[in-house]
Each structure stands twice: as C-alpha cells, then as structure tokens.
Symmetry: D2
Subunit: 301 residues, 4 copies
C-alpha cells in the first residue's frame, strides 16, 4: 500500500435535496469543481459532510456516487466514524467495494472514554478494516483529545497519518516533532489557517473546508508553502483570513462554518443548501451576507 | 394518552454475549429481577443501555425481546436518540410496533448545536413520532445543557416530562419551580442521590442506574420519600452513597458507573458482563472488588 | 477553642462610598439589620464582600469597624484569602487584634495548583494563623475543586469545617458522608438553595448571600429545616427560589448576584450601591427592576 | 512616548531566598545573564515572576533593584496586575519612580467578569497610570479571553500592544489581521513556540520564559525569523521544542514550566530555586532530571 495522504483534500460537503435525497446534480458539480480546482484528494462523510446526521443508506449511496464520479482521478477518503463498531465496519466495507482508497477514523463520540479505551478500540477496529485508515482528532465533537501515545499506537496499527482538527497549534507542533523521522506518516491539519506553517515544518497537507468553495486558492497556498515562497503565502493567507471573518462567521450556530460553506456553494450555483438535521440552512438575510462576502473575496483572488 | 412517568425506572442495561449477540438469558433474568423488585417502569437503550454502541438491528431485537418479556406489566420507555433523524424514527417506529409505551429523546450528539436548533429539531421530530416522548438532558454526552426555554418548548410539543442527568441540582430546582403548576409533566432525575429531595419537592421519580442491581432499595427509598419518612430516607440513602463510593468507583473510565453496574449484575449471576465497544469489561482484579463491595452493601440492606 | 460554625452566616457585603472609602453609616445599618434578623454569625471579606478588590488598608479598616459594631454579639469570620501568603497572614493578624473569631481560607487564586500544593500550602499557613480557620471551596473563582483528601488534611490541621460554594450537590453529599462521624466539623453551604437538604442530612449551616437582604427568611428556613418541618421548608424555599429568578438574575455580569444584592440593600436604604472595580453598580433601569422584585418578594414573606 | 515593544523580552523570574527575601546575588546574576544574552527588554513581575504570590513590599524592592541593575540598558516592563485597583496603581507608581519604562496589565483575576467590565476597568485604570501599558491576555489565569473589541479599546486608550499567552494560534492570527495597519501596536506572544510564525507574519516579539535560561537561543531565533531564514528557524526551533518536552515537562504541577525554569537557573548557578507559596521547588530527583536535560539541550546549541 503506497498511498500517501498529502496536499489539499477538501472535506467535501454532502449536497442534499432532503434528509433522504442526495442532490445528485450538486454532487456532480461539486466533484467537478474540486477536481478542476486541482485538489489532491477528497475526504467525504466527515464533519463538514454531516455524516453522523445521515442514514447508513444515504451514506452508502453517496460513497458510491462520489467514487464513480471521481473515477480514480484522485484518492477518495471516507469517514466511517460512528458510535457503533459494526456501523463503522459496514460503511468501511461499502467504501472498499465502491472503490474508495482509505477510511478516516475518529473516536466513537457518545461515551467519553480514556486514551486506553481508544487504543483498544483502534486495535480491534483496524484488524477488521478492509482499507488503510487515517486517524482523526476532533475533540470538540468526540470529547477526546488524542494523546501522542494514542497516535503512536495508531501508527503501529498501520495508520497512514493523522488529521488534527483540535485547533491546538502546540499539539500540532508536538505531533510534527514526534514523527519527524517518519516522513510517510501524514500529518494533516483540519485548521486551514495553520496549513502554511504545517507544510513549511514538515507536515503534509490540509483537509480544508474552504477548499469546497475555493479549491484553487488552497492549492496555490499549499504550493507556495511547499516552495517556501513566503511572500505569496502571506498574500494568499489574507484571503483565507477573510473567509474566517466573513463566510465562516454568519449566525451563531456552532456549525456556522459548515452552514456558511454550503450556503456559499449554493450561491455559486453548485449545489442545494439543504442541511441535514439538526442543522438548518441560512435565512434569506444570512444568505445575502454570504453573497456579498463571496463577491468581496473574489475580488481579492 | 394518560401515561405518567413516575417512580423508579431503571435505565436497563443491555445484556450482551458479543457486540452482535444479545445475552437472551441475561435479558430474561434482568427483566424478572427488576419487575420482581417492584420498579415502576423500564427505560431501555439509554446511556446505561449502551445504545449508541449497538447496531440498529441489535437495538430492534432488544426492544422486541424486552417488550415481549415485560408483557405490559410495566411501561417500557425506549431511547431513540441518534445522530441521524431517520435513524431515530426507525427505532421509534420499531418501538411502537413492539408495544413500547414511550420514547426518550436527547439532542443528536455529534454536532454542538444551539438551543434554537434543538427546539427546531424537536418540532420536526415530535411531528413524526409514533409514541409520546420524554425529553432527556445529559450535557456530558450531548454537549447541550437544555435551557428552560427548550424544556418548555418540548412540553408544548407534547413531552411527557424531562429526565435530567446533568448532576446540576440548581437546574433541577429551577425545573421544579418552572413546572410546579403542571403536575402531569414528569420531572425525573438521572442522578440517583438527588431522588429523595426531588420527590419531596414535587418531582416524580428517578431513572436510577443502581436499580439495575438493587431495585428494591430504590423502590423503598422512593416510597420513603413519597411518605416524607425522613428517617428512613436517611438510612436508605446511606446504601446509595455506598454504591457511589464502591461499585461506581472502580477503575478510571468515565463510563465506570456503567461498567461497574454490569460487572455487578454478572457477579450476581444475572447476565454476562460483555461491554459493547468502545467500553471493555472489568479485569479480574476489578471484578474482585465489585464482588467484595456487593457483599458489603448487602449487609447494609 | 470551642467555636462551632453553624446556622445562617451572611457573607456580609462591604458598603463603600468609593474604592477608597467605607460607607460607615451603611456598615452600621447593615450590621444592625443582620443581627436584628437573628443571624448566627457574620462572614466578612468573602467573595460577596468583594475582598480581593479592596486594598489591605481598607480591608483592615472594615474588619475593625465591623468587629467593633458587632461587639461580640455574634461570631465574626474574616476572609483572608489572598494570592500572597504574607498578605493573608497580615489580614489574619489584624483580624485577631480586632477581635474576630475565625478566618476563612480558600486557595490562593492566581496560579492553578494541584491538591498536593494546596495541602502543603494549608500546612504552612495553618501553622502561623492566629485564629482557627474555616476552609472555603469555590472552584469558579480559585480554579481548584478541593478534593476530599484536601478537606481531610485541613481537618487534621485544625479546620473548623468547610464552606462549599461549588454548587455541586454530589460533592456536598460526599462531604456529609465523609465527616458524618465528626459532628463538630462544620459543613456549610454557600449555595443557599441547598441549605434545607444540607441541614436535614447532618450539615450545619449556610453562608447565604441572600441573608444580607432578608436575614429573617433564611433564619426561618434554617429553623424549619432543623425541625424537619417539611411544609414550612417548602413554603420558605419558594421565596429563595424567587430571589434566584429575580434579584440574582439582572444583567449579564458573572457577578450579577453580588451586584444585585448590593443594589437591593441600597434600594432598602441600608447602604450605598458602589461596587469596587472591576465591578460596576447597576444602571437606573436595572435598579428599577430590583425595586420591583423587592416588592414582589416582600409580598411573599 | 516612542517606546516600541519588540524582540525577545524574558518574563524574568524573581530570585528569592525565602518568601520575604530577595536573592539579590541571583537577581544580579540573572540580569547580567539576560542582558549579555542580547535580549531586547525585561518583563518583571509577570506570571513567571510569581508576582501575585509576593507581598507589595517585596514587589517594590524587586522593581527598584532590577531597574537599578539594568540601568537603562534595556526597557523594563513591570507587571502590575492585581485584584485591587489601588494595589495596581501603587505598583505602577513605584515602577515609574524606579525608572521602569512601561507596565503590563491583565484583568483583575478573582471575579469572572465580562468584556464590558474589563473595558470599563481599562478606561478607569489607564487614566491614572503614570507609564504606558501593554495589555496582557492569559485566560488560564484570569478567566477572561480578551475579545478583539477589548484589545481595540485598549489601543484607543493608548496601549502599546498586547501580549497573548492564550496558546490560541487562531486568536493570534486574528489579532495580527486586525492590527495589520497599525505597525506600532506591538503584538507579542507568550507562547514561545509561536514566535517565528508571529514574526514572519508581522508580529513583534515574544515574552519567552525559556529566554531566562537560554537568552541567546531565543534572540537567534528572533533574528532568523526577522530575516526569514527558514532553515535556521527550523534548526533553532528544535531546541525550543526540546525545552517543552524536557525542562517544561517535569512533575505534574500546572506551574511546572515556571518551577522547571527556576530549577534550571539554579542548576546553572544563577539563582536560588526557592518558589513563593503556593508553589514549591523541585525534589532532588526532579532536579536531577533538569540537570540531565540541560546537558542534552546544551549539546544541541
């Protein structure tokens, strides 16, 4: 297995017409938008993909459709995190059949658990997985900030790397330091603003939500960071900062980044802005703001 | 619909032989143990029932089996909380068919959400539920401490009452005060030590995990509280306090109360102590402690 | 030393004309109001007394004045918590000279520390204290929730008891259980709504902020709880609940309970409503609310 | 006033022989060690300086001694944060008289307060300060994460800049973005690992605890970052990372970074390792570790 996770991998949104219906045209548009933007892979059914809010049936349908549309032009990673061990495996097996390249695993998120319990869980799960896996740290949603020991255990069990969405830069530096002699173990940030530093310090890429809207911006930023072109990084980062201050900052839902991103894709004519429960789409006035912000950012680019 | 939730309602554990197999003999024993202990109802597939860790198939099988065994001798409440709206409905519909009496609803627990989002969620869900529902507040697991406004909204939508497992006694007093003129709206604590005060101040009952082991103790405590027999309450409460200090306090898992309770049931010969992932059963030395503690508590009773 | 801390001990507010000037007439009025209300002691320079916001000079002046006015009619407890060990001792020595009866000690509150560090601190401090001490648990302000082990250590070092303002009823029950064979070790709640249960379960009293305004109400509630007159407790508790919902709930400062209480004393003509920095007195419209609420509560009494 | 805060400014430790006695020889050695290491200024009586644990008398003595020893060779900043407004002013006035250049202000740290309360506090305090001030954000100790609005207010009131010790890199990026058109408003990190990125993105310096031990390392790192010499930054940062993993990581006190740093200075023969209460110096075995780690880091340099 010589898949290495790196570059810009958007956590692809899940276009929906209702909680039971995929917006197929939207998926088609979005896949095309992302691949033509030059991204290095897709991560579907993560937090931004609203996976836990979707039925297993819908998740499987979405996996099949996406893999078919991507048609091996880029690696597809599939989030399988679920509170049920068997549920996770069911999704993983479907991903394998559909032609996905890897799965992404975070702690089962209902029960608060210990690092030891998580390590045992990974040991049991990894044994049955039909595809290689990327570990996923997102304590705001799973209640567990994965200790370095747990990441090391995952690596021993064959993990391809870790995606960190803790927002904790000290942690990210510790991870970089810990695995500096294992360049094939991918260190991926889920906090897009941290990407340039991560790349310049030996990390591998970003699962950057904003790349759903502006894939090219993030690919350019990644390349500038790879080339240590600091001036260009500084300029491009301003656009990312602008995203944080505008599109990511409408309304007061803790999920406003995801809702704002889907609304932006809808404004761009790419897909429907329907959100799976418990989230709800933006109001007309909130959508107006997104429209305005999109215009402002496009001028920067 | 004149079901009123009250009294001692154990959050029944889910006896398992493996993650895919129900321990049927264990279920039979446990139902019999609880009903002969005089409990006023059963709450299955809650947090103590490890519901999120079980596949939908297993959950349904367990609902059917329990309803059949209970055979209308006591109300059966079924936890349907799930991150997927459709998943919740699927379980609810199965519960209706199996003959359950009500469902229990907590916030979908992956995405942190606002009170407004939760209210909209309840509005949409309640419209489709085939059975009446009890609202369930457990912020340690769902990340949302239900505001009084949200509880009032649930009541408007027909909720039978609220189970509060926040451990926040000031909140419980606020709830009691808010609904003091609605005696049919059940106020149930999930913190068993708070039960006597709750009952003496107009509350209705407890979903008390310890009643899995000692149903009679909790029923006696409930009756003593109903009769305002303060001396008896004081004596019986000592046994509950002892549970906290012993059986609930082995190991260091955040789920140690549930694991300890299942281990105790296993020591008593009632059911298997298998835990669904990500939890794991106690080690031999931890089990020894549970054995010893059970002996000590039995002497108190 | 046979002082036992019990009953209703208001955490007396500090009447001020400015950050440098005590409102002497206000102090006189307030001491008189409290003692004629039948309280069992006074606790000055606690959190409600805004002690950390006052200069040492002002604190000493206030101690002297209060002790003189009380003139041994009730025990006076003096808060000495400070981030500086020498500062704490300085206040304690002044309290001794002024005729106070005991001091109150919480963790020094700038540095987050461990239980072990707190135990060592208590060991060193208690050795030099000129008066007996009450331990004070208020993790919201000191960042340390005192473990049972730390409370036991304090008791070994001679502590008269513990005041708990954590709001954590499970903790309070654990404390009651732990010290049930030491009836002289006073267990005092700083959460006034918990007082009846505390008293009925073997506890000793309350440092109840609301007793600044309505000392008689709290003394009556204490007596009803002592006599296990449950009906009377239920009636009186409604007035306390009303305080929480009204006077304690104006504005959005985390210190709104203290600001509201001082405003109420000002409305009653007892003292000035000046708050030491960083707090600020209520606006005219907030004060109007306090006036209205005071009227409503007086009707209940 | 044209002081600009920038470069490496160690938060100088306070060498003590006891809680009442300054280790004067240690202060002399430490000032000399830091200045000869090339630092751009000194920040005394901050968190690392254990200021809140020291009496006012000792703080004043330390200010006078340090200012005298520095003798205008570098700017001296003095922490004046205190829970008492008058206490803060007293220290500030002494700092002015002793010849210090600026003061450092964090929220008064006992009462949790709102942003509005903090803004009013700054407005009142700044009016009376005899020296310019640097704002200081350290929510772990003060309970208040200063909002951008509060930082803007401080700037309007004349603040020289902000020191951020939140460890929150997203916040730091927001601050950089907010003040990008005010290059004289100094943005200083208290998280030393973040310094290179901060400098390369327009920030001004670091109040870096590790510069107490290795001033030259941090000055070199600062210069490399200023010159955008990324290779050199990467090499030097490894030594800083090593500090985190070793000297900052002994024992389990939340203050272990400060205790470890003082122990290291003691091992180096610079000053006594006495800690003001509630902290305590390392045990012999912990000191052994510090000795070993110092050796390892020196080899890297």
């Amino acid at each position: 297995m010589d898949l290495q996770i790196k570059g810009i991998i958007p956590p692809m949104l899940t276009p929906l017409d209702s909680m039971a219906d995929i917006d197929e045209k939207g998926v088609r548009n979005l896949v095309s938008h992302l691949l033509s933007g030059g991204v290095h892979g897709l991560f579907i059914l993560g937090t931004s993909g609203e996976a836990p809010g979707l039925s297993y049936g819908l998740r499987k349908e979405f996996i099949s459709l996406t893999c078919e549309l991507v048609n091996k032009r880029a690696p597809v990673l599939v989030g399988i995190t679920d509170t049920s061990f068997e549920g996770s495996l069911e999704i993983a097996n479907h991903a394998k059949e559909a032609g996905a390249d890897a799965v992404v695993v975070a702690p089962p998120y209902y029960m608060p658990i210990t690092q030891k319990e998580m390590q045992a869980y990974l040991e049991n799960l990894s044994r049955e997985l039909p595809l290689p896996f990327l570990l996923y740290n997102i304590p705001s949603h799973t209640k567990l900030h994965l200790a370095i020991e747990t990441v090391k255990k995952a690596k021993e069990l064959g993990a391809l790397g870790i995606k960190d969405s803790s927002g904790d830069m000290l942690y990210l530096y510790s991870i970089l330091d810990e695995f500096k002699d294992s360049p094939n173990f991918s260190i991926i940030t889920g906090t897009e603003l941290f990407m340039p530093e991560l790349i310049m310090n030996g990390g591998h890429g970003a699962i950057a939500g904003g790349a759903n809207i502006f894939p090219g911006l993030f690919v350019d930023l990644y390349n500038a960071a790879k080339q240590k072109d600091f001036e260009k990084v500084a300029v491009l980062r301003q656009s990312v900062m602008k995203l944080y201050k505008t599109i990511y900052n409408v309304g007061n839902s803790p999920a406003k980044i995801i809702i704002g991103t889907k609304c932006a894709l809808s404004v761009l004519g790419i897909c429907n802005d329907y959100m799976a429960p418990p989230l709800t789409r933006f109001s007309a006035s909130e959508r107006k703001k997104i429209e305005m912000y999109l215009g402002e950012i496009k001028e920067l680019l």
